[in-house]
């Protein structure tokens, strides 16, 4: 018997025939396609029972009510909460993308201690002990006042706990980052005295004169502003936007009035002058004017004649008059200050001058007007127990009026002015102008403790990170604080257990004080943050825990207020863009890119236009008229007195000739490939300039040059 090729042929054919009439072929064809429909590496989200949790978003000062949809307790979607007094349904993109922050690649997942420039994970117990040990030594050495603290706000119970801690510890050096709210409060304080802040009834005003306020780019409480804008369109209320660039707000406005950057304060002064000369101010309200109204009147007429200001601002004298008169004659006019989002570097002079326009019209504390609101203190902290160290330390002078001033002072002093620093929910190493100065100051501080959820620039510059749960994992009261007409406090509630080993900053502060022992511990008698909150917010707790919010004040305030012109009468100096270059670089606030904490989510970055961010390059806006030799989309080198950067050029007919616009919020340097390493941080290109009178940085632009790269 011989096995030849015919046998093999038979074998092969038999095999083929056998398989062919078996189900193998058909089944495998079908199953292989089904396999592609269910690739194991494509996730399948588990199904379950749908439930909804109400909470409040605290990503920005807007404090919108949110509803979190959950599947078997697992959050899957954030939406705006209907019938919430701030946003009333609807939410901004950052809030909606909030779940991404839970699982952000940059989250600090456990307490970290820096050893030889590297972070090592440690336990909470070790971390608290480490911090308490350090602070204890400072206190023992009578250096309590050298502990400094930076928080994003001074409102709410967590900021209150930090403040309480600083007082009990014995340091006056609690600083708040410059936000719209802090500028408004400072403005109110300057004109009307301490304890006031400003709110604007944009929902009802019939004429909004905005001095660059980006009410559609994130100014104030963004969703409330969007809603006000929509209702404005329906009510046919006017919006005039005075801005160097056709921002979204300018585009939505009835009139866009381009203005030379940096001259807004002068313009407001000139408009005040017009109202005074034309006798268009409200004499009844003027009865409450104190502190040199006549002196102010004279100064304005002398220093800010319309013609002179027209030349500086680039707006014709006739227009300035016309606009001022139209504003004054409106039934419910409101002038709003705060360029862009109104945070960071601004100018008190500008805020004060713009608000003076409101005061002159007399549309103050009336429906559709400006509300000079008493800061509603719904929190009742017990007085801290002050021992000698505390009393001594707290009595010492503060290291400046602002974080920026403190940074400057630390850098200029040979002595260690600050030996320990707390930073909570702020990223000064990124958001302050010329952050290299901030980083240098941080280098000089031996012990920086970051209370952060994310490994951002400031966390990276710290020595110890006590990770904070995100707004979805923690309990916290969040007062609205962004120029809203109403005063609302909302309750952020944990919608899930912390994903990582993180805690509420409130709990950490209480724990720290307890560990320090002695009178410190006595000042913090609560078992935990929740107990503290229930205690200090007892007055509103029922509403807070029941409705998720408490309405503190609604409608126009009834108090009569006095107005002092002392600050403006002295004609404080206007801060113009510094340096000798021919062009002016100004920051652009873009709704889709947060400028502060936290940085953008991957979703937010995804929505950014390719005319703003292309690959890893930021695109700067420039009017084609100004773009000598540059090409649209081409590379260029942007130079300012502070530094230079490689950028792409984006021709934009909607920006004034002579102005270069660069978006805020890019150029992060932390380790998150979706968000960081893209573009340039504009603050690296601008040096701070402290404004006399406010002590705050007022450099919201700089001169610059641009050339083909």
């Amino acid at each position: 018997m011989k096995v030849d090729r015919r046998s093999f042929l038979g074998l092969g054919l038999g095999a083929v025939a056998g398989i062919a009439i078996s189900p193998v072929g058909a089944k495998l064809t079908d199953d292989s396609s089904i396999w592609t429909q269910n690739w194991p590496w494509t996730p399948v989200p588990p199904d379950g029972k749908i439930s909804y949790d109400h909470s409040v978003c605290s990503l920005c000062p807007g404090t919108c009510g949110i509803t979190v949809r959950k599947i078997d307790g697992r959050p899957v979607k954030i939406e705006g909460r209907d019938t919430y007094p701030v946003n009333n349904g609807g939410a901004c993109l950052h809030g909606i993308a909030g779940l991404q922050y839970l699982y952000d690649p940059c989250r600090v997942t456990t307490p970290l201690k820096k050893i030889n420039d590297r972070f090592e994970p440690i336990s909470w117990k070790e971390a608290i002990a480490l911090a308490a040990g350090h602070l204890g030594r400072i206190r023992k050495n009578d250096q309590a006042h050298t502990l400094a603290c930076i928080t994003d706000t001074d409102q709410g119970s967590v900021a209150g706990l930090f403040s309480h801690f600083m007082t009990a510890f014995g340091s006056p050096n609690h600083f708040v980052m410059p936000t719209l709210e802090s500028w408004l409060a400072l403005t109110a304080q300057t004109l009307h005295g301490k304890g006031y802040t400003l709110g604007f009834d944009l929902e009802n005003a019939d004429f909004i004169l905005s001095f660059g306020a980006g009410i559609l780019e994130g100014w104030g409480s963004p969703v409330a502003c969007f809603k006000a804008n929509s209702s404005r369109k329906q009510r046919k209320a006017k919006l005039y936007q005075i801005e160097h660039r056709l921002s979204t707000t300018a585009a939505a406005a009835d009139r866009w009035i381009p203005v030379t950057p940096g001259t807004e304060a002068d313009l407001a002064m000139a408009m005040c002058g017009v109202l005074l000369t034309e006798n268009l101010f409200d004499s009844e309200f003027a009865a409450g004017f104190k502190g040199g109204f006549n002196r102010f009147n004279a100064m304005v007429q002398q220093k800010y004649p319309v013609e002179k200001v027209a030349a500086a601002t680039g707006i014709s004298a006739a227009d300035i008059k016309k606009i001022a008169i139209a504003f004054a004659r409106a039934k419910m006019p409101v002038a709003i200050p705060g360029k862009g989002r109104g945070d960071g570097a601004q100018s008190l002079k500008e805020f004060a001058a713009v608000h003076t326009l409101n005061c002159l019209t007399g549309n103050v504390n009336k429906k559709g007007g400006t509300f000079i609101k008493p800061v509603h203190d719904y929190l009742a902290f017990p007085d801290p127990v002050l021992d000698t160290a505390a009393k001594d330390g707290f009595g010492k002078a503060k290291l400046g009026a602002s974080v920026q001033e403190m940074v400057t002072n630390i850098n200029q002093s040979a002595d260690p002015l600050v030996t320990a620093l707390f930073v909570y929910n702020a990223n000064p190493c990124y958001t302050l102008n010329d952050p290299s100065q901030t980083r240098a100051a941080f280098e000089k501080i031996p012990f920086v403790v970051s209370f952060s959820s994310f490994m951002d620039e400031t966390a990276m510059a710290s020595d110890l990170i006590l990770p904070v749960s995100t707004f979805l994992e923690r309990l916290e009261d969040v007062p609205s604080r962004a120029g809203l007409a109403n005063s609302v406090v909302g309750l952020t509630r944990p919608v899930l257990d912390p994903v990582f080993d993180t805690r509420s900053a409130g709990d950490t502060v209480i724990q720290l004080a307890k560990t320090l022992g002695g009178d410190m511990a006595r000042s913090f008698a609560w078992n935990n943050y929740r107990a503290c909150l229930e205690d200090v917010a007892a007055g509103v707790w029922e509403d807070l825990s029941g409705n998720g919010y408490a309405l503190l004040a609604e409608g126009p305030p009834t108090d009569s207020v006095e107005t002092s012109f002392a600050f403006l009468s002295d004609n404080p100096q206007t801060i113009y863009p510094q340096g000798d270059y021919a062009l002016t670089l100004v920051p652009i606030d873009n709704m889709r890119l947060p400028g502060t904490v936290p940085a953008a989510s991957p979703f937010a970055i995804k929505t950014v236009s390719d005319r703003v961010l292309k690959g890893k390059d930021v695109c700067v806006e420039i009017n084609p008229d100004t773009a000598n030799g540059l090409t649209d989309g081409g590379f260029a080198t942007l130079t300012t007195p502070t530094g230079s950067a490689r950028v792409r050029v984006n021709f934009n007919e909607g920006i004034m000739p002579g102005v270069i616009g660069m978006v805020k919020g890019l150029g992060h340097t932390f380790d998150n490939k979706y968000v960081a390493g893209k573009g340039v941080n504009i603050h690296e290109l601008i040096s701070p300039v402290i404004e006399p009178g406010s002590g705050l940085d007022a450099a919201c632009g700089t001169t610059a040059a641009i050339s083909k790269a």
Partner: protein, 285 residues
């Protein structure tokens, strides 16, 4: 059994004068529909955004330049004569996208699609996106994915579904409650509910009690100037994108500004002046 006595025709009207281009709709859509993201999303031709917001300009120079934003979901075209032969549905070789005559919604079935991309070529709105990449979420982030929308695998086309899963859930609820109608607010898309400016209105174009119908006032008769066009708005401020092609989108736009309305379609020189006051059959009556 609940039988829809009358077919729905779900549609949308977007008020471009209210739209602030903030991106909430885009992100709400991405979050609702499990849309993935990559390291670099700045190449907008390879960036899945079912709801994309375009920035339009009037083309004039400083200081007369004007801009507006235009959110663009899938237009859920009814096709020529509104017979359901949408540009994409009619070309899909494998019936992976169909026209729901009960809702007017154009489906996309990811498990049926084999990725020929003919539908993308057919769509003048660029509403269809291809999964060039495997959807990958950073470690742990897949925990926020919603079970109501199936994540798409690499190699298939996807697009806006008018949040059909919300319609499915609303129907389940209606079945359970024994009601026979889905109320206007029981079925709203994720972009609509997210829009902080209230610029998006969604509902049944066939239902006179729904806001969309009241705003759009769709003309049931074919447009005498172009018989392919059905459902032209009788509201002078309302227009559709590329209406003249006869795609019959169910997404309408609204603006007071004439230059914005003009950008909705293509016109020969001088043609706009002739047709700008034409609002369907009604304007000829």
């Amino acid at each position: 059994m609940i039988q829809d006595k009358k077919a729905h025709k779900y549609g949308m009207v977007i008020d471009l004068d209210k739209c602030t281009g903030c991106g909430s709709c885009t992100v709400s859509c991405m979050s609702e529909n499990n849309i993935p993201f990559k390291e670099d999303e700045s190449d907008k031709k390879d960036s899945i955004t079912w709801m994309r917001v375009y920035k339009l300009t009037n083309g004039k120079s400083f200081p007369d330049t004007q801009i507006t934003y235009l959110p663009r979901p899938c237009q859920h075209c009814g096709g020529k004569g509104d017979h359901g032969h949408s540009p994409c549905v009619s070309v899909c070789p494998a019936t992976a996208t169909d026209y729901g005559y009960d809702t007017g919604i154009v489906s996309q079935i990811y498990t049926r699609c084999f990725g020929c991309r003919y539908c993308m070529v057919s769509c003048p709105y660029h509403a269809r996106y291809f999964n060039w990449w495997d959807p990958i979420w950073p470690e742990g982030m897949e925990k926020y994915l919603s079970p109501n929308v199936s994540p798409r695998m690499r190699g298939v086309v996807e697009k806006c579904s008018f949040c059909y899963h919300r319609y499915q859930l609303a129907r389940e609820k209606a079945y359970y409650d024994g009601t026979h109608e889905i109320a206007e607010d029981a079925y709203q898309t994720a972009c609509t509910t997210a829009c902080p400016a209230g610029a998006i209105i969604f509902g049944d174009l066939n239902n006179p009690s729904h806001k969309v119908h009241q705003i759009v006032k769709p003309d049931p008769h074919p447009d005498p100037l172009n018989r392919d066009v059905v459902g032209k708005s009788r509201n002078p401020k309302v227009f559709r994108l590329l209406e003249r092609l006869g795609t019959n989108p169910k997404v309408y736009y609204m603006s007071e500004r004439e230059w914005v309305r003009k950008l909705g379609d293509n016109y020969l020189d001088g043609e706009w002046e002739k047709v700008k006051n034409h609002y369907g059959a009604a304007s000829h009556e």
